[in-house]
Subunit: 371 residues, 2 copies
């Protein structure tokens, strides 16, 4: 045998050891922190949210959930916070502490290593700031920890940074659909050669495994969503908001499942409907009775020059649909957490295509995995 | 945030959930089984070991530890075994069962899903067959499970397949040493640009993290052993056996640590000593009083046309040593299991270089990680 260790699924309900091994370890690398800290869209949004709304921070107690290298905690202190609790589950906490000291903020920022669910703070806080968003917003399920922090430690008058989040889906065209189809077909060609060799040289007929092998490869190449930073002109129809989250009130129950039905008109013919892209935005608006002085938006929508490290998640239609005339899509979307790993997601699309003549094409149903 | 799940380290002693997540999941993919089943050196060795030594299998009870797709169990049955117990910890067991049925061997081969440490068999066995070897033999620490199987289930007269294993180390030259050095330097250049940007745009001085970042990158690019299939002419001096294992008698204690001192003459000047390669071989010899009719060897040594999926593990010397005349190396080698993950290894080399004049160069000490 010989295998590289490789993240994967665990069995049954959340196994903390497996979850730590699978999930948190990535965040313990400075290399990965640097990638996030180099995302200018992300950095500008949080920086502006904090420094253009100093009134929310001056003299206040702040909690940073998942502080990583400590950047949001440091900004909060620089904006005038009286006290910042910076909670981090991984050993990155040690680097955060070093960085806080190097910036001479050790009297204000207290770095606490521990999981948010278990940490005890000496007081309730005025602000919870956190960069908790995963691919397509909810991958990683880290917002659960923010909800837990809010319910336990935010004052009744407290403010969430960010305050709101939205998920978007839009129809797209992309050459990825051809590329992945080719990859899949090459893998299957290779398999048939392998079957012949194994029978000829080693006397074992493995053809009974063709179906499970093809299922596995199909899942990998065709049904797993892809990371991509799309150009806006690859979005070929109207995009829809499929979920809105008020970070001050949302419960874990509200985000366990995302369900939405929407319509989208594709007017850009001729083209190919190659699938859908999913992205998100978050807003920093303060709270109703204590609003932001300057509202800030962070968007991960397709953009010609403001790509993010989140990009978009691409869900491909195989085969793509050739669009010769204006069509209308009626889409039912649902997303649930994977049973094997609550930080990963399973997505389903039901698509009805109507032509201008009123003709309706056979419905399309596709399942995807956000790995 | 946004991270792909990624194998990594757990805390403290073996956490079974984390271990399963980190380790076994890879073996649950047919794609990975196919990679191993396509390794002709591996397949030929086991095939010949079984079918050229049918006397060990005819009418006998056999245990296959970690059967994967079931190939060794099927061969054992085809060679005449009365009963084969095929133990597999992952869901691959289901495919193995399907394959056994498709080859009409379900009356002989019993596939058992479970960990070898916990499985209970109805009888003791005459043969234990297993393909347990990881990179540089011991990575994965799977031989522990074979030892456990042997001590619990092998008859006193039983035979191990394979029966013996050896680890080798030899001095090498390789362009990888330059490539990885460049990668490391590019990562550091990038870091210094990042520091400037973060200070200029976001008011935070991160230079205090330069040392830990460089340590992290050094570990990744320079101190982590590399997979490679070397050409024999890249081995520039005599290779040495650093460990011999008798699979019938070795205990876990015997393989927890590998320590060896050896000498190697480099006669191929001018050249560069770029580091060392580690590989292994195993032999199928039966047992003293019940020997193989035909001894078979499986070697993963550098070879011009018989590369394996194991390849060799490369431990690089940065900077490489220019060799202008014949030199002699006195090497102390040690390998231990990583504290964070008992399936990964930490390696240390102490190298003394003597010139023909008798002059001795300053000693070199390097640590490496087999990830």
């Amino acid at each position: 045998m010989a295998s590289r260790t490789n993240g994967g699924s665990s069995n049954g309900p959340v196994d903390k050891g497996a979850d730590f091994a699978n999930y948190f370890c990535t965040y313990a690398f400075l290399y990965h922190q640097k990638e996030m800290l180099s995302d200018r869209v992300r950095m500008d949004a949080y920086y502006n949210a904090v420094f253009q709304n100093k009134h929310h921070f001056q003299g206040k107690a702040v909690l940073d959930v998942g502080t990583g290298s400590g950047i949001l905690a440091i900004w909060s202190a620089q904006a005038g916070a009286r006290k910042v609790y910076a909670v981090e589950a991984t050993k990155m906490s040690e680097h955060a502490r070093t960085l806080v000291q190097a910036n001479n903020l050790q009297d204000i920022v207290e770095v606490i290593e521990g999981s948010m669910e278990e940490v005890v703070l000496p007081e309730k806080v005025d602000v919870i700031i956190s960069e908790w968003m995963g691919y397509f917003l909810l991958r990683e399920s880290m917002f659960d920890s923010v909800i837990c922090a809010r319910d336990r430690w935010l004052k009744p008058s407290g403010v969430m940074y960010p305050s709101h989040a939205r998920m978007w889906v839009g129809p797209i065209r992309s050459g990825l659909v051809d590329q992945k189809k080719n990859d899949y077909e090459a893998a299957m060609d290779d398999w048939y050669g392998f079957l012949e060799d194994t029978k000829d040289y080693y006397g074992v007929d493995m053809s009974v495994l063709t179906r499970p092998f093809s299922n596995e490869q199909e899942k990998y190449y065709l049904q797993t969503s892809l990371w991509n930073n799309l150009h806006p002109n690859q979005v070929i129809g109207t995009a829809a908001v499929i979920k809105e989250i008020d970070c001050l009130t949302a419960s874990v129950n509200d985000i366990l499942e995302v369900k939405s039905s929407f319509s989208s008109a594709i007017s850009m013919a001729p083209t190919r409907l190659c699938g859908f892209a999913g992205w998100f935005d978050v807003h920093f608006r303060g709270r109703g009775e204590d609003p932001a002085q300057k509202e800030i938006e962070l968007t991960t929508a397709p953009s010609s020059n403001n790509g993010t490290h989140w990009g978009q998640q691409i869900f491909m239609l195989h085969p793509p649909v050739h669009v010769d005339e204006e069509i209308n899509l009626d889409v039912s979307f649902s997303m649930n957490r994977s049973k094997e790993n609550h930080r990963l997601m399973e997505v389903e699309f039901d698509v009805k295509i109507s032509k201008p003549s009123g003709k309706i094409l056979p419905p399309i149903n596709k399942k995807f995995y956000i790995e």
